[in-house]
Amino acid sequence: MELLPKIGWTALSLFVGINYGFVINGIIRKVMARIQGRFGPPLWQPYIDMGKLLFQRNSIMHGYMHWLGPVFRSVGGIGVFVLVPIVIGDPRLAGFSEMGDLLLVMYFMFFGSLGMALGAGEGGHPHSPIGVSRGLSQMTAFEVPFILSIIALATAAGSFDINAIVAGQQGGVLQWNFFSNPFATAAAFIALLGMNMYAPFNIVGAPTEIPVGPATEYQNTYFSLMMIGRSALAIGKMVLFMNLFLGGAHSVLEALVKVIVIYFWSVFVGAVFPRFRTEQSVRFFLRWPTVIGVAGVLFAQLVRS
């Protein structure tokens, strides 16, 4: 496909993806409210919040690095989103997936948080470094089972290319990695709980401990940029999980449904748990999920040989 239309289609899908993230965010707020016995905010509340953030004024700035933090964060999210194919065999909705593989996607997932950490540290509030250290230690911990699970999938598919992994799962539901390698799936979905930062792993911005964490000093427009980045990253991650474990999607509708199903896995877990302490969270990920991940790698080797 020509580069220019490709950029156009990717930008369009990014726009739709970010908006879908906002919609899902509204649904989540509503669902959480219903679980808690509340009526909940209107579905379009994320859009109103976004508009309000844009129309408030910033009153403080801690240097340009501080300002760049949300930019890095959004770049990370957008990077993940554009590198993941959305619909199988549709070059318009494949993004730039043939130009990068899983490792690049994972790099972008890490990159956003690192950039945010750099910017947040500039704020100077003690909550920021505490939140950053919490977030980075938890991230390093959940990366272990996640990477093990990805190694297992790559072993089975023989490649780190997402398109190849998706192609290997075609031909029936039982061909999905969700069923063909349950160990890798379990490890990755537990790691997903940590990535999505719902309870019990919402230790970064824990409001009763270190309010807002790294983002303590961030304000309106910074926040709106972070909302965009977070939305792109969340949808990108869900699409990635859909491709890795649920056999990709054959149509846009299928993709939308699978994304919301994967998303609500962590939302429902988050509704019924308090949060861990940092070291408990790290210990959690390095214990059973890691063992399951190793089992997933061995299982993949066994099946292959």
Binding site: R38, S133, A206, T208, P274, T278, Q280
Partner: protein, 394 residues
């Protein structure tokens, strides 16, 4: 004799808040104010922390943000004018302080023998309802400090149904001013018992779900077991009372030890737990909810339906009380509360001083538990000790 040497803050001068001469400040140390503007703080107080990474090296409690000088104001008011003041001493649980004021002045004036039977039952009822609603609030707040929104929403709603009963009985949701000299202000309304019973049934029905969310939750147990242990030897040294003491396994309760009102006639257990950590204190609170429900049901059954609810009173604007000094106590949801009450024969209180459990819990105990604590546990610890700042500074 002290288990705690005060000078565990080496080289630090508390008055000027600066390091003493000749000592160096650890460059890794960060000073952090936990409150007063902080969602995790209980009420309006603050803890000044010196942190090293995630863990606290030492800290000081600062109170006084809510000081209104109640005791000074009550020296200027007539006896009847003191009621609106005392109930604001502890916002969440106003009935205990109302009872303390009424009973201490009744004792000094000799009015206590004239309080009718029914008034005593009604006082017992409202004090137990008040304990129940605070305990519900704290039980949800305990897990709310650990980031779960579901359980606090449920318990706050259950508490709100109880507040409806308060409103029906007294006219106020939060501040009741129900207990008056010589009895109470108002009789039960028609059908009140049935409606309160329905609320109690609802609470009892929801309790198993709350258990699953809170006490039986693996994450909650991991967060709370063995955390913020109050050493048993502090019980005498610091004068700990209430759920904090009962969580050490000591069955101590003012309702049983210094019987007042109708509690001697009621059948209830004193809930204790072992471990003296946050989990034990939460468990004590959870069990007390069941006990309170049990007590309220008994009261509703045993209460006489006929009779006066208030004694014949002298003219409140010219009422004088002979000189005397006494101490009255009652069990609040946090522990022993008491009034030192002094009168001098005039129509005003000479001196009144509130003794509250938060005084020791929030300052003496908390400051001694801070070194080595993780900042993630601070908020949970404060809720489990039930620190209530308006009671400390009044």
């Amino acid at each position: 004799m002290s288990v705690f040497d005060y000078n565990t803050q080496p080289g630090f001068d508390l008055i000027s808040e600066t390091p003493n001469a000749g000592t160096t400040v650890d460059p890794k140390e960060v000073q952090l104010w936990f409150g007063p503007q902080h969602p995790g703080i209980t009420g309006n107080m603050s803890v000044q922390l010196w942190m090293e990474g995630d863990s606290i090296k030492r800290g000081i409690t600062h109170v006084g943000y809510l000081h209104r000088g109640f005791e000074k104001l009550m020296e200027r008011r007539k006896f009847i004018q003191s009621f609106p003041i005392v109930c604001r001493m502890c916002v969440a649980e106003p009935d205990t302080t109302e009872y303390l004021l009424a009973s201490s002045l009744e004792e000094l004036s000799g009015l206590d023998k004239e309080v009718p039977e029914k008034a005593q039952w009604l006082r017992t009822l409202i004090m137990e309802m008040s304990r129940l609603q605070v305990t519900l609030m704290v039980l949800g707040g305990q897990v709310g400090t650990m980031g779960m929104g579901t359980a606090p929403n449920w318990t706050y709603t259950l508490r709100d149904f109880l507040l409806d009963s308060f409103e029906e009985l007294t006219g106020g949701r939060v501040y009741h001013m129900y207990i008056a000299y010589g009895g109470v202000r108002r009789d039960l309304t028609k059908g009140f018992a049935q409606r309160l019973e329905a609320t109690l049934d609802l609470i009892e029905e929801r309790l198993p779900y709350l258990d699953d969310l809170i006490l039986n939750s693996a994450v909650f147990q991991a967060r709370t077991k063995g955390v913020s242990v109050v050493p048993t030897e502090w019980a005498d040294e610091i004068g700990i009372t209430g759920p904090t003491l009962r969580a050490m396994g000591v069955a101590s309760d003012v309702r049983r030890d210094y019987p007042y009102l109708k509690y001697p006639e009621l059948d209830f257990d004193i809930c204790t737990a072992e471990g003296s950590d946050i989990y034990a204190r939460t468990k004590v609170r959870r069990d007390e909810i069941s006990q309170s429900i049990h007590i309220i049901r008994q009261i509703l059954q045993m209460m006489p339906h006929e009779g006066a609810y208030c004694a014949k009173l002298p003219n409140m604007l010219t009422w004088t009380i002979p000189a005397g000094m006494t101490y009255t106590r009652a069990e609040s949801s946090r522990g022993e509360m008491g009034f030192v009450m002094v009168t001098d024969g005039s129509d005003k209180i000479r001196r009144v001083h509130l003794r509250g459990p938060s005084y020791t819990n929030a300052v003496t105990i908390l400051e001694r538990m801070l070194p080595g604590m993780n900042i993630a546990d601070l908020s949970a610890t404060m809720v489990s000790l039930q620190t209530c700042p308006p009671e400390i500074e009044r």
